[in-house]
């Protein structure tokens, strides 16, 4: 449905409530499997954080930061999938996962089906708790339009 004016309204009358509460945070994990009904695994974290980023790299990212901004977009898609599920959010995550996998040699050669899950991190007391809130039905890698 074409609804850009509804999407524009929150920008024209913004709420500006940045970080008012620190909500459970999604992690995107993916796995390959041999068949549509097969057990996916092992689950792997999508784009794990580097141990360290140098100050020079941080400053360089002021001008060129597409990979990180794409990762933040996928965080938005993950939150949308849990709050208000749409095919768009699921498709975006599949597309971008497949695009990353396409850059890895032999990815999906023996396991051509791709699935992902959303694990949300939150604190219970002082303990960090992981809760799986969404798992996508596997799709054949070859059928996903990566780009």
């Amino acid at each position: 449905m074409f609804k850009p004016l509804a999407l524009l309204a929150p920008a024209l009358i913004p709420s500006w409530n940045f970080f008012d509460v620190i909500a459970p945070s999604p992690r995107l994990e993916y796995a390959l499997c041999a068949s549509a009904g097969g057990k996916p695994g092992p689950w792997q974290i999508f784009r794990p954080l580097p141990r360290r980023v140098s100050p020079l790299t941080m400053l360089g990212r002021l001008l060129w930061n597409p990979r990180w901004n794409e990762t933040l977009f996928l965080v938005s898609c993950a939150e949308r999938l849990v709050q208000n599920p749409t095919a768009h959010s699921e498709d975006e995550i599949f597309r971008r996962l497949a695009a990353d996998l396409a850059r890895q040699p032999d990815a999906g050669a023996s396991k051509p089906w791709l699935s992902f899950r959303l694990v949300f991190l939150s604190l219970e007391g002082d303990d960090l708790v992981e809760t799986e809130l969404f798992r996508a039905q596997p799709r054949r890698l070859a059928d996903i339009v990566a780009r």
């Binding site: 850009p4 920008a11 024209l12 913004p14 970080f19 008012d20 620190i22 002021l62 001008l63 977009f73």
Partner: protein
């Protein structure tokens, strides 16, 4: 700074910020490339001042297609400020009279002030922000820190409580900076440093450029009101 100068400066800075964002999208899919190549071309016309105001009008129209493509802003708050600036500038350019031009441009400046004040207000009413726990959670498990090493800041509660209060108080008192030009410039320098820190620690580079692009609007409003 008069209205025309401030509007033109904001247009140019916003166009440059949008070019920076658009270049990042060129590594995306073909549909993204088409949208953002078009945006780069229109931003170029804005910077050069060609055929004003029609490139701005086209950019505003294109923003609707981009919103539709991503079913919302691509990068949350930073894209929302970019959209707000784009539409306010376009409406200001198309407005048939000076008061209406000032109204559209002044609305943008007022929203910039509100972006700090409301953001500080929603934090200070939250006990987790007042104790520093909220910022600890940001570093401990949110998706924003750009490196694992930064998560160790979660183990420094006094530092985080100090940072939390510094951010909240600065955001809340920001409107007081409007009393004079020097205080406003000082506040904008501090705010820019805050956005720079967010860009470095959390990778929020779009916030830095987008918020800076709107600073001429608030400088104009201060001159207009005080």
């Amino acid at each position: 700074m008069n209205l025309e100068t401030a509007t033109r400066l904001t247009e140019i800075l916003l166009a440059l910020a949008l070019i920076q964002q658009s270049l990042e999208h060129l590594r995306g899919g073909r549909d993204e490339q088409a949208l953002f190549l078009t945006r780069i071309g229109l931003c170029g016309l804005v910077v050069l001042g060609v055929s004003s105001p029609w490139p701005m009008v086209a950019l505003a129209g294109l923003s609707l297609l981009i919103l539709q493509r991503f079913q919302g802003p691509y990068n949350g708050g930073s894209d929302r400020m970019g959209l707000l600036a784009l539409w306010c500038l376009t409406l200001s350019r198309l407005a048939p009279s000076l008061p209406l031009r000032e109204l559209a441009f002044g609305y943008l400046a007022a929203q910039l002030i509100l972006s700090y004040v409301i953001s500080g207000g929603v934090k200070i009413v939250n006990p987790d922000w007042r104790s520093g726990r909220a910022l600890r959670d940001v570093f401990r498990f949110s998706a924003y820190p750009v490196a694992e090493d930064l998560r160790r800041l979660a183990d420094r509660p006094r530092l985080l409580m100090g940072m939390s209060w510094a951010v909240m108080l600065f955001e809340l008192v920001f409107p007081l900076a409007m009393i004079s030009r020097p205080t406003l410039i000082l506040a904008l320098v501090i705010a820019a440093a805050f956005h720079l820190a967010n860009a470095c620690l959390f990778g929020l580079n779009r916030f830095f450029w987008t918020w800076l692009s709107v600073y001429p609007a608030i400088l104009w409003l201060q001159h207009r009101l005080v």
